[in-house]
């Protein structure tokens, strides 16, 4: 996988991975957001399980 947007450091500006592929950046961003949302969903599940346990279910 070639993630480098540059072939030389001469005149380089935005040089982060996939900087020349906005579509890939959007997919990576969506995955990062999904991690955040998924963790909050897991948090809610954990809390619900604690409530069931506290109530003897």
């Amino acid at each position: 996988m070639n993630s480098a947007p540059i072939t030389t450091w001469e005149g380089a500006k935005a040089y982060f991975t996939f900087a020349d592929q906005p579509g890939v950046l959007m997919v990576i961003s969506a995955l990062a957001l999904a991690v955040c949302v998924g963790t909050i969903a897991a948090m809610i599940r954990h809390e619900n399980a604690c409530v069931r346990k506290a109530n003897g279910a």
């Binding site: 500006k13 935005a14 982060f16 950046l25 948090m43 604690c50």
Partner: protein
């Protein structure tokens, strides 16, 4: 030949000076950001100490979650919102620099500014969430807090910052708002957002008796809270340093008016002292004395660049005297159980700071917009109050309706740590009732 060599040397020297300025600016904000992390270390200690032993780790976990979630949220949305909405609700062209997948939002040899400014603003965002977190301890669900923290830190406050803490923000260009130290967009918005949440969240079990009288719920470690509050004060030197625009050569306020770091040093310290003395005078309580230090910072924050230091001291002293009384009023008269006084300290402290600037800094010219005035400050206070309160109330109301806002009463009584956290704060103290959840009354 000699002239050509001389010109080449001058060009090299100019390039070197320009690079030094750029590096200086980067280094300045890098360390401001690092110092601001102390605010969160302070809030962590302060809120764990203010919790009963059975909730100590859950309170701390909440602070850690807020910090962790605010960083990506502010990356994906916050910075774009700041650049997008200075004129109101119309998206500005400058917002393209804040799009998460844009060229400015990552390593870029042609842009030394975006990363460090984003980082400093991210820490401001996390501070708003930390302001809310202390008020809601011991009964809010972790997930609800995280969602509300994201809403506050990633969206709401930064819209206020775009409106009133931006060179082109409409509150300044239309009304002349002067709020150098972010008392409005950070403290007021976070305080009023918290008030909206507290109304829906309700008090901790045992806080009020059937006849409406109040039970004192003591935290388990007052010394830790005091140390935490002092660490927050230290962190505010990073926060307020980050409020100054430094381009490596000159210092400017967020409104592009000239200032110096010395001005901020004079008035920040005098404000801290004034707030501490004021709160000590009216309470004799070390917790409120250190909260008074925060009140002092917030009271003087809007005019840090222009106040005569003794005036900053007096403004903060008045804040330190009055705000603890307003916290009492919220508790006794309105039955708002704000565990650490965050609404009063940050929300009402911010109101006082902005109004004080309208009284004592009136007439100072702005680069864009009319001069500072009391009416401009007052109208901005109303905007910040509504902008903070409305989304806090609405979002927490929705969570409440979904049964997601507050933890189960059994868990609240037993303690959130024993129910939800897989480790113990004080394992050697497992036989002491206060540490095991076997409290003698709901308020213990």
């Amino acid at each position: 030949m000699e002239n050509a060599a001389l010109l080449a040397k001058i060009e090299a020297l100019e390039a070197s000076v320009a690079l030094t300025k750029t590096v200086n600016a980067e280094v300045f904000y890098w360390w401001c950001t690092a110092l601001m992390i102390a605010i969160h270390a302070g809030f962590l200690a302060y809120e764990m100490g203010a919790s009963r032993a059975k909730n100590a780790l859950a309170s701390g976990l909440k602070n850690l979650l807020a910090f962790a979630f605010l960083v990506p949220t502010f990356y994906f949305f916050g910075w774009w919102i700041y650049l997008a909405f200075p004129t109101g609700f119309t998206v500005s062209e400058a917002s393209s620099a804040g799009v998460a997948w844009g060229e400015s939002m990552g390593p870029n040899l042609g842009d030394n500014a975006s990363g460090i400014f984003w980082a400093a603003f991210t820490l401001f965002a996390a501070t708003t969430a930390s302001i809310m977190s202390g008020a809601v301890i011991e009964r809010i669900r972790m997930s609800a807090f995280t969602i509300l923290a994201i809403l506050l830190g990633g969206f709401v406050w930064i819209l206020g910052a775009s409106w009133g803490w931006h060179p082109e923000g409409w509150l300044t260009t239309s009304w002349g708002l002067h709020d150098i130290g972010a008392a409005g967009c950070v403290h007021m918005i976070a305080g009023f957002f918290t008030l909206g949440v507290l109304i829906n969240l309700g008090p901790r079990i045992g806080r009020f008796n059937a006849d409406g009288t109040v039970n004192h719920i003591a935290g388990h470690n007052m010394p830790m809270s005091l140390i935490g509050l002092m660490i927050i004060v230290m962190g505010f030197f990073g926060f307020l340093g980050g409020c100054i625009i430094y381009n490596g050569g000159t210092w400017m306020t967020i409104y592009n008016t000239p200032t110096t770091l010395s001005a901020f040093a004079f008035n920040t310290l005098m404000g801290v002292a004034g707030g501490m003395i004021g709160s000590y005078l009216v309470t004799r309580d070390p917790f409120w004395m250190m909260s008074g230090a925060l009140i002092g910072v917030i009271s003087s924050a809007p005019g840090l660049d222009v106040y005569f230091p003794a005036l900053a001291f007096l403004i903060s002293f008045v804040g330190g005297c009055v705000i603890p009384k307003l916290a009492d009023m919220l508790l006794v008269r309105f039955k708002i159980d704000d565990a650490v006084g965050a609404v009063a300290v940050h929300g009402f402290g911010g109101v006082w700071g902005l109004l004080a600037a309208g009284i004592f800094a009136s007439g100072y010219p702005n680069v864009s917009g009319p001069a500072v005035s009391f009416s401009g400050q007052l109208m901005s206070v109303v905007v910040f109050a509504i902008l903070g309160f409305a989304p806090g109330f609405a979002a927490s109301y929705v969570l409440k309706m979904l049964g997601l806002l507050r933890t189960d009463p059994k868990i609240e009584l037993a303690g959130l740590d024993i129910s939800e956290v897989p480790v113990k704060a004080y394992p050697e103290a497992s036989t002491i009732p206060a540490f095991t959840g076997e409290a003698l009354s709901p308020a213990e």
